[in-house]
């Protein structure tokens, strides 16, 4: 019986032994890791300071039209994917520094967005907010990326925010600073620029 099983086992092993180890294929795994790159850099104008010290400024505001470079914030975006940029104020209103009870409505500050320094083109790479926006506590889109065209470097995505105060333009407060009879104070709030990947 043992001999019989031994013979059978040898027979089976011999069959296996004739199988030729031929390896005519090689498989190589390829991996692609795309790391997210989202950089928003404020190049200049990180601190905008309006000083109202004439009646004309109280009635007509400062930087109507947005042309004065002293009231410009330049920022760039480097992104590996399409993006939007939103803007919002930290507080519900400007807060007085001398007296915290003093407030000034956010919509006395307006902003418009300009892309004249950008390598990209509005309508092709992104859409920009149109006209003069009022600063709000809620986030507003100022740059809306166009699909498959917004991602790019700082040269392509180079923007300027043109700030103005009390000019009553666009969506800003329709009353002048004088008409609002605001208490003299130093009013501040932080403004957040947020880069949102799409």
């Amino acid at each position: 019986m043992r001999k019989l099983f031994f013979s059978a086992a040898m027979l089976l092993l011999s069959q296996v032994g004739f199988g030729q180890a031929v390896n005519d294929q090689a498989i190589i795994p390829v991996s692609v890791t795309l790391n997210s790159i989202l950089r928003l850099t404020v190049v200049s104008g990180g601190n905008i300071d309006f000083v109202v010290n004439t009646i004309d400024q109280y009635t007509s505001g400062i930087n109507a039209g947005g042309g004065d470079a002293r009231y410009h914030t330049k920022f760039t975006v480097s992104a590996s994917q399409d993006f939007d940029v939103t803007i919002r104020a930290e507080d519900a209103s400007f807060l007085g520094q001398d007296n915290a009870a003093n407030t000034m409505p956010l919509n006395n500050v307006g902003l418009s967005i300009d892309d004249s320094d950008a390598g990209g083109v509005a309508g092709t790479n992104w859409d920009l907010a149109v006209g003069v926006l009022a600063l709000t506590n809620a986030a507003q889109d100022i740059v809306k990326g166009i699909a498959n065209a917004a991602a790019g470097d700082a040269a392509q995505n180079n923007f300027t925010i043109q700030w103005q105060l009390g000019t009553m333009q666009g969506a800003m407060n329709g009353s002048s600073l004088l008409a609002q009879s605001l208490t003299p104070d130093r009013y501040i709030t932080n403004v957040f620029l947020e880069l949102v990947p799409k």
Partner: protein, 187 residues
Amino acid sequence: MACCRLCIKVLIIFFLTLLVFTLPFKGNVKAQNITKRIWVASGGSVPFSFKSLTEYSLGKVLNNWTRLNIHYRDTSDAGGDGTSIGWRLLVRAGSATIQSDGAAPDIPLTAIQVKPNTTIPGTTTTDITLSSANQVIVEGGDPGALPVTGEIVITFECGTPPATPLLGRQPDYYFVDLIFTLVEVNP
């Protein structure tokens, strides 16, 4: 006791049947005269990691990344020149796209280029853009009864021209298998 004998008889008949039916196949295996082997000497995985906008814009190149060794020989039963008239190294992707491991849209295979180089005499190399169909990247002539042995060095590119840059693609981990196959060329 009778039962034991019956079992033995059944086993003997079983193994004799096995022997009769397997011997012809054994003979066929012995008649195989083409030997093809391919193995990865180094660069067994190809990792592209994009971490700057420059890389996103210009693509990435892994120069001389993978070294494949091949051995090919075709002989007649008498040991002379076999019937094949050459050999080819093929490559194809294991899937239709470079698959995302997350929820991002897949990347097309055309993002990857395979550029072979070899010092094996009498060969021609072809740079290809990856697809799911087999493409010839190295082709060698008929070596007669002599073996062909040597190294094939492969450069991989991802997102380089003429491929579309990966700028704008969603961050994720993407993967695909490259399947290299060594085949004979028959007349």
